[in-house]
């Protein structure tokens, strides 16, 4: 790392004939704040241009080509998109599955997180312990835990169907059943909702106590208080969690990849799996680039729609 403009001392011996009292343009530049700003930012800028914006543009170009990733790409105009929207039997179904997964996961996960946060936002003895337990699976996650869940979902040897049998329910085959595989993935995702809960807890602590006390004085029951005071007050936080949840779960990949390989009978073949297989299994790299751009644009459009919808529903304090 070169030292940026650290030489405040005017000792920089002027090799140019310019007098020391009038610094050259280069010296002025070197000392300027802007120069330092961009010097500090250089590593990030290199990454932005070389490993983010550059690749994005390249993948946009690749989306309009037929390309196997090895030979040179061949420009085919909008053909990839025509195939995608028109004749590819995997596109629309995988899209539908992904939206089903994301919708259910976000709706149930945000509701669960909010419920847990509301309960933990009291002076309940032991709440720190519960917070730890609920937050743990958010941090300690990934492939190892998916493998554990796959065993828990095992219809014969797993713990879940055993527990169900104890209350007189004959459990489904979970990951082996076309109807139950996706709900199983959603069920598992609910334990990863601790981060959302933490954000809700932080939001709930910003709800002025006076408002709730006033509601209590007015004789409002807890449900009415929750609907009329708490929810409006934390609506920006709810919006944030819904949006972040949607963005993350529309990209789901590792869970089905590890637990079901997209099966049985493609019932968990989500968009991420589809994209991955096209790119790294079938070497349709051009087509997969087009798919990746569609995924990106869907997320951008969805974000925009959610924010627009929210403009009328979300209450910001003091605005």
């Amino acid at each position: 790392m070169t030292a940026p403009t650290t030489t405040r001392a005017p000792g920089a011996a002027p090799r140019t004939p310019a007098p020391a009292s009038a610094p050259t343009r280069w010296q002025r530049l070197r000392r300027s704040e802007a120069f330092a700003f961009y010097l500090f930012l250089t590593p990030w800028l290199v990454g932005l241009v070389g490993l983010t914006l550059g690749p994005m543009l390249f993948s946009l170009y690749a989306g309009f080509t037929r390309w196997d990733g090895v030979n040179s790409p061949e420009w085919i105009g909008f053909d990839n998109f025509r195939v995608m929207f028109g004749s590819d039997p995997d596109f629309w179904p995988s899209f539908g599955r992904t939206f089903f997964y994301a919708g259910a996961r976000v709706a149930l996960g945000v509701a669960l997180a909010l419920a847990l946060a509301v309960i933990l936002n009291t002076r309940l003895p032991g709440r720190t312990f519960f917070r730890t337990v609920f937050f743990l699976p958010t941090i300690v996650t990934g492939v190892p835990m998916f493998v554990v869940w796959a065993w828990m979902f095992d219809p014969d040897l797993g713990i879940l169907n055993y527990l169900l049998s104890q209350v007189g329910i004959e459990g489904p085959a979970w990951l082996g059943d076309t109807t139950w595989a996706m709900p199983a993935l959603i069920l598992m995702s609910l334990t990863a909702t601790g981060g959302t809960m933490i954000i809700f807890l932080a939001g709930l602590q910003g709800v002025p106590l006076e408002l709730r006390e006033a509601a209590v004085v007015d004789g409002a029951g807890w449900w009415h208080r929750f609907r009329a005071v708490t929810v409006p007050m934390i609506s920006p936080v709810i919006l944030f969690n819904v949006l972040m949840g949607l963005i993350a779960s529309l990209q789901v990949f590792a869970e089905p990849f590890v637990m079901t390989q997209g099966g049985p009978e493609r019932s968990t073949y989500v968009f991420g799996m589809y994209l991955f297989n096209e790119a790294f299994w079938y070497s349709n790299v051009g087509y997969a680039s087009a798919l990746a751009w569609v995924q990106f644009l869907v997320i951008v459009v969805l974000t925009f729609l959610v924010l627009r919808f929210a403009r009328r529903r979300v209450h910001y304090l003091g605005s």
Binding site: L45, T52, P55, S59, L136, I139, G142, V237, A288, Q295
Partner: protein, 296 residues
């Protein structure tokens, strides 16, 4: 991010005496959902830890047992024989530590610039930081693969570490550190400048030491993210001796799909380091996550 203890007295915590004047008995209904939820949140960890010590006959036994009949470590030695478990552990550690160092360096430099240095275009740059937070990894991974192929970096750890020195995927960390830096009074830096300290000295000797809690938060998040990362190693590594734990376990699962005892031993090896890290440093994780929502 200051070191106030939020546990002690949350400002907005509902005072129970208002709602529950009839005494503590009224608390019981609140515990019922909490205990049920906690059971399901903790179950996978209990199931994994106990499974790792169960003998094969016990694994396939019905009804399932909760605690292993006797503790045997055979699964661990067996798992280490089947795949290079300890090697994967070392690989994971190497990749996670190096990428954490890179992230902390790059993010703190950028955050320092955003917090203290004025320049034309700085707002646009910060906008770009926030915009990259929304990028799905797929859109970058396919072209990045070609770039690394061209550079000859495939099947090395370079694609898993070098980008972190260049801030790729680190937008959240830049944001978090900038928020923290903005909380440090400017006068401290003014004083240092009068004493003749250059900007790099101010960054290294004033900003970094003061930002220690935020830096720890960033380091913890990146370490865990790198440790849990599956997609990167899956795509960039092919030689099985170079695998990190997540791909190693996936590989193992492919070989011995239903050998649950050994699989649980392998997952335990992978999970316990992060589990301990979480238990020791939970407050940093909580504060880091709570900061994300703050801007919402």
């Amino acid at each position: 991010m200051t070191s106030t203890a939020p546990e002690r007295g949350p400002r907005g915590a509902a005072p129970l005496r208002l709602t529950l004047t009839r005494g503590r008995v009224a608390l019981v209904p609140l515990y019922v959902p909490l205990v049920i939820a906690a059971f399901f949140f903790a179950l996978p960890f209990a199931w994994m830890l106990t499974g790792a010590f169960k003998a094969p006959s016990e694994i396939t036994h019905y009804p399932p047992t909760f605690l292993p009949e006797r503790l045997n470590a055979d699964n661990f030695t067996q798992a280490a024989d089947d795949v290079s478990l300890w090697r994967y552990l070392g690989n994971s550690l190497l990749v996670a530590v190096v990428s954490t160092v890179g992230t902390v360096l790059c993010a703190s430099l950028a955050a320092f610039a955003f917090a203290y240095l004025r320049a034309r275009g700085s707002r646009v740059m910060f906008g770009l930081v926030l915009a990259t937070m929304m990028l799905p990894p797929f859109i970058l991974l396919i072209p990045s693969y070609s770039i690394y192929q061209w550079l000859g970096w495939l099947d090395t750890y370079l694609p898993l570490t070098v980008p972190h020195f260049l801030g790729v995927g680190g937008a959240f960390y830049i944001f978090l550190l900038r928020q923290f830096f903005l909380g440090i009074p400017r006068e401290i830096f003014e004083a240092a400048r009068i004493d003749g300290a250059g900007r790099l000295r101010q960054y290294a000797t004033i900003a970094l030491p003061l930002a220690k809690p935020a830096l720890i938060t960033v380091a913890l998040f990146q370490f865990v993210a790198s440790w849990n990362d599956f997609f990167g190693p899956l795509i960039f590594l092919t030689d099985s001796s170079k695998f990190t734990l997540p791909v190693g376990i996936r590989f193992f699962q492919g070989l011995y799909a239903t050998d649950y005892g050994n699989l649980m031993a392998a997952t335990t090896v992978s999970v316990v380091p992060v589990l301990l890290l979480f238990l020791v440093a939970q407050r940093f994780f909580v504060q880091g996550i709570a900061t994300t929502g703050g801007k919402g």
